[in-house]
């Protein structure tokens, strides 16, 4: 290397900014266009659901004089047969459904991932105990558990989320355990041990980040599943109760009115689809952002 070339290389050394792991991940996520667009749409939906009710002239529990009118300027989403404004209902329903779905996905994923990682990492007796308990949870029927707890829930959204998460985490733990069982034999885990890393560090710094792909995919599925389960619970009277509402409840109530008052069915249905779809795309983007080997993000 000539002198000038060496000097140029030395100068270049200082022009590259060092970035933290988080910055690098965020940069990769931002390159994923569909995921960024989905995130934007989801934020709009969330703002619509949480800020909208403060601005809109009708309350979701309020009866207006207009019964069963089609969408118009006064009622953009139309009204129900008892005169409630459908836009106000959809805003409230989205709010409740998003809260239930997100809490379910986060809680089930967090518990399941740590549970499965510990089982897979320690193997042996710990594994056997943890996984048999997870198997036991998998056998519990959602509706029976919900029915038992229904007496006390009084339709509060977070209890519904906890009940659903309390049954779904076992699936997450099975997935994570499988991934961790193969990861723990990799040489970089042994390398971490040779450096003196603690078990906690190995699990949270090396095993779980490498298992994030399947975990995130499953979390996005969980969001959709939670919305549907909440609907099923509401239908049976264990979920969110009238006059409060959720997207699942709205769709369910409008089942018989698809032909006569389609707006009651399609507007909440559209929101369920939009939420599930955007979360799926965001999950895709996150998975790619966490995996530096993915080249697709460069598109």
């Amino acid at each position: 290397m000539t002198d000038t070339a060496a000097r140029r290389a030395a100068e270049r050394e200082f022009t590259v900014r060092e970035r933290t792991q988080l910055q690098l991940t965020v940069r990769r996520f931002l390159r994923h266009r569909l995921a960024v667009a989905s995130l934007f749409v989801l934020i709009l939906v969330v703002v619509f659901a949480f800020v909208g009710p403060l601005l809109w002239r009708y309350d979701y529990a309020q009866f207006t004089p207009d019964n069963s009118v089609a969408p118009s300027l006064k009622h953009p989403f139309g009204t129900t047969e008892d005169g409630k404004d459908e836009l106000a209902l959809v805003m409230r329903g989205t709010q409740q459904s998003v809260k239930v779905a997100v809490l379910t996905a986060v809680a089930a994923t967090a518990i399941g991932a740590v549970w499965g990682a510990i089982a897979g990492f320690y193997r042996g007796l710990v594994d056997a105990l943890l996984m048999r308990f997870a198997d036991l949870v998998l056998t519990l029927p959602l509706l029976a558990v919900a029915a038992v707890l229904a007496g006390n829930t009084r339709g509060s959204w977070w209890l519904i989320a906890i009940v659903i998460a309390g049954l779904q985490w076992a699936i997450v733990s099975r997935i994570v355990r499988g991934v961790v069982l193969s990861l723990r034999e990799k040489e970089f885990i042994e390398a971490a041990r040779a450096l003196g890393a603690s078990d906690t560090r190995i699990i949270f710094r090396h095993l779980l980040p490498n298992a994030i792909g399947p975990v995130i995919v499953n979390a996005t599925i969980l969001v959709a599943v939670a919305i549907l389960y909440e609907t099923a619970l509401s239908f049976l009277g264990f979920g969110i109760k009238a006059p409060d509402t959720s997207l699942g409840l709205l769709v369910n109530n409008a089942r018989t009115a698809v032909d006569t008052r389609p707006w009651l069915f399609y507007f909440p249905g559209l929101f369920i689809i939009v939420i599930a779809l955007t979360i799926n795309f965001i999950g895709d983007g996150l998975r790619d952002a966490f995996d530096p080997r993915q080249q697709r993000i460069r598109q």
Partner: protein, 359 residues
Amino acid sequence: MTAPSAAAAPPSDPAGGAADRPVLEVRDLVKHFPVRSKSVIRRQIGEVHAVCGVSFDIRANETLGLVGESGSGKSTTARTLLNLQPATSGAVMFAGRDLTKLSRADMRPLRRELQIVFQDPYAALDPRISVNEIVAEPLRIHRSFGADGRGQVRELLRLVGLNPEHGNRYPHEFSGGQRQRIGIARALALRPKVLVLDEPVSALDVSIQAGILNLLRDLQEELGLSYLFVAHDLSVVRHIAHRVAVMYLGRIVEVAPAARLFGSPAHPYTQALISAIPLPDPRRERARRRILLTGDVPNPISPPSGCRFRTRCPKFAGQLTEPERNKCVDEVPELVDRGTGAPVACHYAEPLHLLDSPA
């Protein structure tokens, strides 16, 4: 390299006399792995005798080469002495303490002093973590990632010949040789005294191997490191090691300074290995004496009695009389000096001149 007249040099003193006190002493290290039945109740039905009573010293600023074929227990020895897997018995003395008796928590501060570089540079680096973080990890674990942590990482990358500018990149963006350099930088981060190199170049292209070997040699000089260099490639070991220990089926069969071992090996197994090193000159290659071994390495679950090498030993098969053979079958040959100038584990060891002066 070394002078051709190896016999002229005093055999007990390879590295120039200054560094005679061992940094690390391994005594009668044994590692057996249980073999379990395939049925529901996983009964233990046997043991793989991976390492059987291995003893050696590593002196300050010295490279000890550990060679042997696949399955001879080289890597197991390396991992067991670092306490990455519990030893069945034996002792590893470092800084006045027996590593095999230490718990994981007690072992942690000593990990600063003893580090390892792995064979497969593709598997030994976490694919999800940027190179900066990989090299910083040992500093973080031992809470020495201070205000100048980033500077330290840059310095380490420069030390192993990488551009610190590339620190934001991920392992998959590097070639095998570069990854091995990252692994070395990580191992050096805590300024260890002893570095275990578990076949550090066998996964690399030949043209890259030389670069890594020279780097290791420079680092040894610069930082005063002691190496345990595990390898199966004799020419690599000849290039870098001061002393060489040869393993066969879990036992060390011969230890000698590199020049002596390659110049006049005394154990029949060592002789066979050395006669298999290809010579760069075709005329000499054709004319040389070859010692060919027959058969495979015996099953380590039930190793042969007495001398473990006897089932394949050309001397046992061709030159020994019946009573002499009985000794091989009945008596385990100890690793002691048998008048050949270096310890050798063969009842009938005699040095054999196989290679001309090192090229």
